[in-house]
């Protein structure tokens, strides 16, 4: 493991904890710096508000997954004291070599035993696959879901018969109530769709001048919901008929509100091995309907050039218990990369990974992973966005011939002379605005660079545009956002 500031920030549960840790290091709160002879354990005392200092240690014996220990009562993990100790290590403070303290040696031993047991369990599980859940229960659930789809269809039908415009006169609570009802049918996807409709009702009531825009949004939600209902019904019926109740490698599972577990993904073969990932961009948005923050990282697979996304979901109610994600500038070596079913850019997850700095050669090779030209990228994106179940944008890395302006518009031109307008996607909000930052790029774009962004269809004028996120040059990745 290579210790970098970026790595420390990635370990912090939130930016404030990292900043507090840095402050502790800066003001000299640490004393008694020690490390073991092998350099796998670092420990020190950190002055706190109490009379006795906290005993902090960082155990690197686990490779890429360090174990932080601290005697403080904080529920954040790692706490600011452990993060502070990371900063002490980064600052190359003088750590005297000493024997590993008894308590830590014991904890290490216990941890090794736990890991051993876990490995045994895994091995056992691999040999004998888990017992499937009761077929009767599964059948009951599918029946219930089918009933729910009928219910959702009735709701859509009623809304369209009366007209979407009647939403203006309805109460948002009506739709919230409908959404709640769908919760009884294991259809959280449809439930969220109705919550989004309730939100558009609130928006109309708040600002009647925005009604047209809200109707269009609601209609998009209804189209997607209708499509989900239709395809899900066929899918569920087929499963019922075939008496096949296990999770399937289909995007519908998630669209209906299913939640993938890593073992399920493993079971359906949705994983890749030994993948090298580099993050191209990172952003955070708030999903009001689900009342959660979505921390999204866009990653490129150095082996295949495939671009996927990580999504860290932090519901407002549980924010402090879920570690916040942050931008990553290092390269991740992932032994098993789980990929959610779907087309185009899929959600990815992993359990373990090792991080290291990206080498100049790897960086130089990044732009070459772009689409061959703009036309190919546009074709690929069109193919994705026409699918009603997929988002109306797709991440792409496109080669840059030239970046410039035509009148007021920012334009990317590829080597073949194909052009695309660069625009901010309005739906993402002002905090995602990045196009204008192209005018502030510190230096001219070097030859052989590529632009990463989200390609989308702009309803306003029927143009396919690109919302630029990062400029990938052979020497560095310049993030226009985060």
């Amino acid at each position: 493991m290579e210790l970098t500031e970026s790595f420390i920030l990635s370990q912090a549960p939130n930016p404030a904890a990292a900043e507090n840790g840095r402050k502790l290091s800066r003001k000299g709160s640490f004393s008694g710096h020690h490390k073991d002879a092998g350099g796998t354990l670092f420990w020190a005392d950190c002055a706190g508000s109490g009379k006795t200092p906290y005993h902090v240690s960082i155990d690197l014996s686990g490779g890429g997954d360090p174990v932080c220990r601290c005697s403080c009562p904080s529920r954040q993990f790692p706490c600011k004291h452990a993060l502070g100790l990371y900063f002490e290590m980064l600052a190359e403070k003088d750590f005297a070599v000493a024997d590993i303290p008894q308590d830590i040696a014991e904890k290490r031993q216990k941890q090794a035993q736990r890991a051993e047991k876990q490995a045994e369990r895994r091995e056992k599980a691999a040999k004998s696959p888990p017992k499937p859940a009761s077929a009767a229960a599964q059948k009951k659930k599918l029946d219930k879901q089918l009933q729910g789809l009928d219910q959702a269809e009735r709701m859509v039908d009623e809304l369209l018969t009366a007209g979407v415009a009647t939403m203006a006169g309805a109460s948002a609570q009506t739709y919230e109530k409908l959404a709640k009802e769908l919760g009884n049918y294991y259809l959280t996807g449809a439930q969220t769709a109705f919550e989004r409709i309730a939100l558009t009702v609130r928006s109309i009531q708040k600002d009647p001048e925005q009604a047209e825009q809200c109707y269009a949004q609601a209609l998009q939600i209804l189209i997607a919901l209708h499509s989900t209902i239709k395809r899900s019904r066929a899918f569920l019926q087929q499963k019922l008929d075939a008496k096949a109740y296990s999770a399937e490698d289909t995007v519908l599972f998630e669209a209906m509100g299913g939640v993938w577990r890593l073992e399920d993904l493993h079971a359906v073969g949705a994983y890749r091995e030994n993948v090298r990932l580099v993050q191209l961009a990172f952003d955070v948005s708030y999903d009001e309907a689900k009342r959660e923050y979505v921390e999204r990282g866009w990653w490129i697979d150095l082996g295949t050039g495939r671009i996927d996304q990580t999504r860290n979901l932090r519901p407002v109610k549980a924010m402090k218990y879920i570690k916040a994600e942050d931008s990553r500038f290092d390269l991740l070596e992932v032994p098993i990369l789980y990929t959610y079913p779907g087309e185009g850019s899929c959600r990815i997850r992993w359990e373990d990974c090792a991080s290291r700095s990206i080498t100049p050669e790897e960086q130089a090779a990044l732009p070459a992973l772009a689409q061959p030209d703009l036309a190919a990228a546009v074709k690929m994106v069109k193919g994705q966005i026409k699918n009603t179940l997929l988002p109306k944008y797709a991440p792409v890395l496109v080669p840059i011939g030239q970046l410039g302006t035509v009148g007021e518009e920012f334009v990317l031109e590829d080597a073949a002379g194909g052009r695309i307008q660069l625009r901010d996607r309005r739906e993402d909000g002002a905090d995602h605005a990045s196009t204008a930052r192209l005018a502030m790029l510190p230096e001219a774009v070097p030859p052989g660079s590529a632009l990463f962004g989200l390609m989308f269809y702009d309803n306003a004028d029927g143009h396919i545009c690109l919302h630029p996120y990062s400029l990938v040059t052979p020497r560095q990745t310049i993030r226009l956002l985060y």
Binding site: K51, V156, A162, G163, R328, K382, I420, A439, M440, Y457
Partner: protein, 648 residues
């Protein structure tokens, strides 16, 4: 490429049908017409044929099947519309010129809170920006942050806008192109700040740009531009602008003219003073000899009018005299010095009177006070010389003593100053004149303070005295303050305890050199006395200001042993236990652990015997012995939380 308008028309009509409701579908003749227009496309392409079929199914569907048919068709139309989305942008492509920002590898966790603080609303933003600036000023050059800092010049919270201005100014001339980009000469406060930042960051290199924007600049921006251009505008330009500019812009021009020299400028100001009131405001801060001469001229004219026509004169006359006197502070031209001599010769005729509005304008007091203030602003030089000259003429007159004493400190050897002025300080009661002299001298010592950096006392914090003050002063001052007939005056200290201390004590202790052994003895004797006696008069109800005098005692190398506990017994109100902890925490650098332990032991005994009143003696009774034990065991003075956790 086929004409796709029918596709977009049908999309629009279908969306309209969804919004209006499928109930009304049969009455929608526009949808029918749009479906007809689609027919030629349907013949040309299978996908359009599919849409055409979908529309027909929809139009023929029974009411209960319309919603499904509508959404099916809309899904298809949308998908086709996406596939028909156009790219490209005809026209000449202008390459992007390199920007002026830099790229720092800042993560979301580092960038987002800062951007939110710079662009958001609510409290706590300025402190976050300030701390980030102090920790890493370079990150503000990042091309993602810089625009937010520039936009933040117009932040609704003025404190943050000013901080942004300081951040940008510190970036130097390199920031100029970014600030000049998108500049609005008719803008508001944000543009005013831009002008100020450009002028400060760019220095003389900003002059051409400032001259360039001046013709278009309006209102506040214009005023700021003129202010910024002042050092570069010629006298002739300023004189011309004084005719053409109006309001605040003219005032900016006048501020520029106040710094200019020359006969034309003098004539201008003379006319200006005759035509308008308020001219004194522009000349008040001006350092030119012309400004000084003009103020002297005006003062002499006003006083002569007063002497000739009688006081208080017409409405506003006395106020005008007071204003021009105020403008005379720090002025040093020969004409000004002559004025002080002249007014001294006519001092008996200077009135102490009421003006017509009933407001008291005591010119008899204002004249010597202004001369003293003038000396405090000008320091050594002609004003000090005239002060010394006037004092020498009437050395017994109390009004000359303050500026005579300060002028002597600035110009004369220390021993001579002591010999001349120390006798004015009374050790025992005497005649009213002598008491007035003593009070006058004590009243001026607050303007003299010890400066550690300069190694001697300074007048008005700026001008070092000719020689460090004679140490004998401090013994005499201590005796005078303890036993002399001093007019008592007290003030609240800035400490959290809100203690009341003698004004003269504070002045003398701030004037004394804490490194001089002789001075230390005199001052510690004064402090000991103050700590072990109740204040006189009605101030006794506030009790002994133990914390203030203890801190002085430590500064002068004294020991708190045997003193602090006694001082606390004289406190009239219970002492907060937190103040006790805080005092020893604040002075842990000046107190040895052994002394702290000894003093705490004395306090502990006093608290136990109820001689010292403490608001939370239950904490004190546990925390003090614990702290003594910790200190004697060689461990650190504990944190407050340790004391606090000892409450029952």
């Amino acid at each position: 490429m086929p004409n796709l308008q029918p596709l977009y028309d049908i999309k629009e009509r279908l969306e309209h049908a969804a919004i209006a409701g499928t109930n009304l579908l049969s009455e929608d003749f526009r949808l029918t017409r749009a479906a007809e227009a689609l027919t030629p496309l349907a013949k040309a392409s299978p996908v359009f044929a599919k849409i055409d079929a979908g529309v027909r199914t929809l139009l023929a569907a029974p009411p209960e099947g319309r919603s499904t048919a509508l959404l099916d068709t809309l899904s298809l139309v949308d998908a086709v519309a996406y596939t028909q989305g156009v790219t490209g942008c005809p026209g000449d492509l202008m390459p992007l010129p390199p920007g002026s920002g830099v790229m720092r590898p800042l993560s979301y966790g580092q960038l987002h809170p800062l951007l939110e603080a710079l662009t958001g609303t609510g409290g706590g933003r300025a402190s976050l920006v300030q701390s980030r600036w102090e920790a890493d000023p370079e990150q503000f050059r990042d091309f993602r942050i810089l625009p937010a800092v520039i936009a933040g010049l117009g932040d609704s919270y003025g404190g943050l806008a000013d901080l942004n201005a300081r951040i940008l100014t510190a970036m130097g001339p390199a920031i100029l192109p970014r600030l000049q980009e998108g500049f609005d000469p008719a803008g508001k406060k944000d543009m005013v700040r831009r002008v100020e930042v450009i002028a400060k960051a760019g220095g003389s290199s900003a002059e051409p740009w400032l001259r360039q924007i001046l013709p278009q600049a309006k209102k506040d921006v214009r005023e700021a531009a003129i202010d910024a251009l002042r050092p570069y505008l010629s006298t002739q330009e300023l004189l011309e602008m004084a005719v053409t500019e109006k309001g605040k812009c003219r005032e900016a021009v006048l501020r520029g003219l106040a710094q200019q020299e020359g006969e034309a400028v003098k004539t201008f100001w003379r006319e200006e003073a005759q035509r308008r009131t308020g001219t004194h405001e522009f000349l008040r801060d001006a350092s030119s000899s012309i400004a000084s001469d003009l103020v002297a001229e005006q003062l002499r004219r006003l006083f002569e009018t007063g002497f000739a026509e009688g006081w208080p004169g017409p409405t506003g006359f006395l106020q005008s005299v007071a204003d021009w006197l105020h403008a005379a502070e720090g002025k040093t031209s020969p004409a000004m010095i002559d004025f002080w001599r002249w007014i001294d010769s006519r001092y008996d005729d200077v009135p102490s009177t009421l003006n017509k509005t009933g407001r008291f304008t005591d010119l008899k007091t204002a004249v010597p006070t202004t001369l003293l203030d003038s000396l405090l602003r000008a320091g050594p030089g002609p004003v000090a010389e005239v002060c010394w000259e006037l004092y020498q003429k009437r050395p017994d007159e109390p009004r000359y003593l303050p500026f005579g004493f300060l002028a002597a400190l600035l110009q004369k050897p220390a021993a001579e100053v002591y010999t001349l002025f120390a006798p004015y300080l009374l050790l025992e009661d005497s005649t009213p004149l002598h008491r007035r002299q003593s009070d006058a001298l004590l009243g001026v010592i607050s303007h003299v303070r010890w400066s550690k950096e300069k190694g001697r006392q300074c007048v008005s914090a700026s001008f070092p005295v000719a020689e460090p003050m004679d140490p004998r002063w401090f013994d005499r001052l201590a005796q005078v303050l303890l036993h002399g007939p001093v007019s008592r005056e007290s003030q609240y200290t800035a400490l959290v305890t809100g203690e009341v201390v003698e004004v003269h004590d504070s002045a003398v202790l701030c004037m004394a050199d804490p490194t001089d052994p002789a001075v230390r003895i005199s001052m510690t004797s004064l402090i000991h006395s103050r700590m072990t006696q109740l204040p006189l008069g009605h101030y006794s109800r506030y009790g002994t200001p133990w914390m203030t005098y203890s801190s002085y005692l430590l500064q002068f190398g004294g020991s708190l042993r045997g003193v602090l506990a006694e001082s606390m017994t004289l406190c009239t109100k219970p002492i907060y236990v937190y103040y006790i902890w805080k005092f020893f925490d604040d002075y842990r650098d000046l107190l040895t652990p052994a002394e702290t332990a000894d003093v705490l032991e004395e306090l502990g005994q006093g608290i136990q015997a109820k001689h010292i009143l403490v608001d939370q003696d239950d904490i004190a009774e546990k925390a003090i012995p614990y702290t003594i034990a910790e200190l004697r065991a060689g461990r650190a003075y504990p944190e407050w939380s340790v004391w606090w956790d000892m409450r029952p």
